[in-house]
């Protein structure tokens, strides 16, 4: 960066600092940081300001390690990235004001401002890119984790398996349910599969349709499905919707379903004396 700019910035550091702090206080609400104590907010602002200034002193055009660490730390404790980007933008605006005050020629001011622009933009861009990448990573990891949780088939007794479903069923998950059911039934040589929908919040026509299809597919490979965990309100909505679940047995609880499943495989639960 131009030596003159650096010199000017160093000379008016105090003034820039005060104006910048005022500006940051003004935008505090936008970043939903009302719950942070005043002292903590001021401390963080101070640190951010220092970091921005070290960029100028070291004359670098990308975020220093310290800046990235600072940003990562803030994001981790729940601050928004916009706090930092706005900090940089405010900084730029104030510098322009300072430059104009310094009575330079218009041309000079323009070239200085241009330089500052070219200096701040890559920093902002890289911070945004990094944080976006972080988010994308998190989302894709969670997607995988969710997929692993989404449709487990558990062999409980010989020939009896249970698939507990919890949460919303979308088309992707419906596919997984079908696949896991069929492969699981064959792998565990199940005769009866209990599908437990206690944890499914809404059973609309699409969900019902997928369950019916899955049950039909299970029947084709020679096993029998029992739908369990139908809550009273779900039973009523199913009736209102006019969905026919008559092709396979249904039970209100997993326990009752298990009893039926044992009967179907010619076994029963007894109490021992």
């Amino acid at each position: 960066m131009d030596k003159l700019v650096i010199q000017l910035l160093n000379e008016s550091r105090e003034r820039i600092y005060n104006r910048w702090m005022d500006e940051m206080e003004r935008v505090r609400d936008e970043h939903r940081l009302q719950s942070i104590t005043d002292a903590a907010y001021e401390e963080t602002n101070k640190e951010l300001f220092e970091i921005i200034y070290t960029h100028i002193e070291q004359n670098v055009h990308k975020p220093t390690d310290r800046m990235t660490e600072f940003a990562e730390h803030l994001m981790k404790i729940g601050w928004r990235l916009s706090y930092i980007t706005q900090g940089l933008q405010n900084f730029r605006r104030i510098i322009l004001a300072v430059l104009l005050d310094a009575n330079q020629s218009n041309e000079k001011v323009y070239s200085m401002y241009d330089e500052i622009d070219r200096w701040i933009d890559p920093i902002v861009n890289q911070l945004i890119n990094e944080s976006a990448k972080n988010w994308e990573d998190t989302v894709s990891i969670q997607k995988v984790a969710l997929q692993e949780l989404s449709a487990p088939l558990i062999p409980v007794f010989e020939n009896i398996s249970v698939m507990p479903l919890i949460g919303t069923i979308d088309t992707e998950r419906a596919k997984l349910i079908m696949e896991n059911l069929l492969t699981g039934v064959i792998k565990h040589r199940s005769q009866v599969v209990l599908i437990d929908i206690t944890g499914v919040p809404v059973v609309d026509t699409m969900v019902a349709h997928h369950i019916i299809q899955a049950a039909e597919a299970v029947r084709l490979v020679g096993a029998q499905c029992i739908l369990v965990g139908i809550r009273p309100e779900i039973a009523q909505t199913i009736v209102n919707l006019g969905i026919d679940l008559g092709q396979f047995p249904t039970k209100s609880t997993l326990f009752k379903g298990m009893k039926t499943a044992l009967e179907m495989t010619k076994r029963k639960m007894i109490e021992i004396e």
Binding site: D170, A208, I212
Partner: protein, 133 residues
């Protein structure tokens, strides 16, 4: 909490968002668990129709009052292809997407009032109300 909300439906997860806000409002208005489930399911059907047939649209949920009666109104609107034959879509078992064909007639049975306003190639607005008893 505000007693109205509007959810844009663009993907499958927006359907979940729409019915979540519907359930919250229904709870707030004092609907019982069965009616909450009915309302949520109705929103789910309408929002899914938007997603399946129009691609995008919005679901507005608000509180309505009529002569001392309190209710919840769902308005699902889109600017999709519209419905060709409304009488046909209200028949049980009619489907163009390979589903169960219980969606719209089902919603009508789940709710108390139900109107469809649709123009071909312009869009569809479905309004439905459930009154608090």
């Amino acid at each position: 909490m505000n007693i109205q909300s509007c959810v844009e439906v663009r993907n499958e997860w927006d359907i979940v968002k729409a019915r979540q806000s519907g359930r919250n409002i229904a709870k707030e208005l004092g609907f019982g668990t069965v009616d909450q489930a009915r309302i949520t399911t109705a929103i789910s059907e309408l929002a899914r129709n938007i997603y399946l047939y129009a691609g995008s649209g919005e679901v507005a949920i608000e509180r309505v009052e009529n002569g001392g009666k309190l209710g919840l109104k769902i308005e699902a609107s889109d600017s999709g292809p519209g419905i060709k034959d409304i009488r046909k879509v209200m028949e049980d078992g009619f489907t163009t997407s390979g589903g169960l064909g219980a969606g719209l007639p089902g919603v009508k049975r789940l709710m108390d009032e139900f109107t469809i306003d649709s123009k071909e190639n312009e869009g569809t607005v479905i309004t439905s109300i459930k009154w608090l008893r």
